[in-house]
Symmetry: C2
Amino acid sequence: MITMAEIARLTHVSQPTVSRVLNGNPKVSPEIRERVLACAREHDYQLNALAKGLQGSRTHLLGVLVTDISNGFFAGLAKQIEIAARERGYSILLFNSDYNPENEQEYLDVVRRYRVDGILAVPIRETSAEWHDYVKKLDAPVVTITRHATGLDSFYVDHVQAGAQVAQHLVDRGYRRFLFVGKDYDSKCTGFRQRLTELGFGSVTTNRVLKTEDQLRRELADWYTGDTARPAIFAGNDIYALQVLDILRELGVSVPEQAGVIGFDDTFMGRYLNPRLSTVSQPVSAMAREAVNWLLDRIEHPGERPAMERAFPATLVPREST
Amino acid sequence: MITMAEIARLTHVSQPTVSRVLNGNPKVSPEIRERVLACAREHDYQLNALAKGLQGSRTHLLGVLVTDISNGFFAGLAKQIEIAARERGYSILLFNSDYNPENEQEYLDVVRRYRVDGILAVPIRETSAEWHDYVKKLDAPVVTITRHATGLDSFYVDHVQAGAQVAQHLVDRGYRRFLFVGKDYDSKCTGFRQRLTELGFGSVTTNRVLKTEDQLRRELADWYTGDTARPAIFAGNDIYALQVLDILRELGVSVPEQAGVIGFDDTFMGRYLNPRLSTVSQPVSAMAREAVNWLLDRIEHPGERPAMERAFPATLVPREST
DNA sequence: TTGAAAGCGCTAACAA
DNA sequence: TTGTTAGCGCTTTCAA
């Protein structure tokens, strides 16, 4: 691929002059400008972004670390991040931790090797001291997205509060017995339990962690037959909800009549399911956009400023399943 | 971030020696090796991948260009690509063309600026002369994935044949009137129509292009009421199928009794839908893995070799919707 | 086994 | 307005 030096040779100017032309520096005579641009176009010149990055300024690279890109919610998030970054001329290095802390650690290192200008991450354990310490000692700014990390830049939906909203909704709809399906350290579960306790249903709450689908099937069967109070299941994300819906159908339990089901994330598919899935919506696009803009502002206008802990509202989307 | 030169200064050796140690060159005395490694560890040294890439060898960067990362199928594909690349030490620059040829063109340029070692792409128009020409004149090897581009490296499922399989399946199941929902240039549609014609149902085939959801709703309503032969709908992907299913439910048409619906891609959700979605499965993981390995072999062992046109079998997955 | 020197392609500072 | 010089952090000769 042709370089600036080569263009300089061909057009009989110095290499820095070529740089000036290609960077739109106005202090270049029109004739030279024309000659250089024509030559660059003719040879399909493409800037060597590595050389530019090496020389010190910006790499215009952003590291994006998510837990599972195959989950529609994160796929949508990645898409919005990519769009927002592109608009400002940044490209995305994408990594998938798969909820494995070792991967997370390794990918963070990889991203540093490429000297990314900044990092957007969905950490596995946003509240852990490790995450906090790690972020603090990095040289590139890190923004935690969709999770709340106290004291760090984070753009998130308050999962504790959202969990409480779900609890309230289920109780309002007349459900009296509850199950949470998801990871045990999920903050949604915390908020869910708290509110249920406040509402006087603490003791009937059962919280289960989804491991294999088979296990979930057995647990659901046990759980459902044990009682006659109106039961509802809060799934930590729409994917779990989809599986729960399917299992209940197999068990012959009709939703929402015999059991309520509510998901989380408001994934695209929820709107079309049968029954249409009640869920909790997060403003993905706004979250991605604001997070990217904040990160890029930090990058482009360095200087101390307090951490931005930006909470976005979660919206309960009641549909047919509750 | 600390550099090799800095480590050299601290350990009283030359910078190239530091390079040797960190690259595992055996011709270094144990004492020096120890000293250097200790220093690197202490200061959390991270290689500057830009400098390494600049100096000529490999960047260990792969450009991945997909049409829509928020589509579960491509999200899954991206995930598998990322995993396969990681295993061999490569990272992913991800772009989303959103089915817009201008984006595709621009992103391909961006990727070249970062001097990626190779490109994996889901082209918008894999059969076009533009794509062919563009790929041919790039300096980095390009592998077309999930689409068949004749004469170029491509790892794909034969969509024409898959479309024919779907036609056969629907006819076998007793359907007699057909609708294709999807993009008009989709090769699946070509194969679908061909086979229907062969089977003597050519004239009753209606092919419609999905534009807005509202339009789809009106068209489906018109289409359904027009006739009494057993009708079936072939949706170009599972997302369309999901929407079709929902519209039919609104129209009070029961699936599969009054109308059959089949999707494409075997997205995760299909297994859990109500009714469970019949669809066509592509071996995503194998396709991604083989494509990545082929691309990396081209990168790591340069030299002419004929284009690899590797077709993978599509598997019809009959479930409850047909 | 180690070091000195050159150079990858670019930007930035300084001179002319 | 243009050119000269230096240097980013690394790998790669080539010498010692």
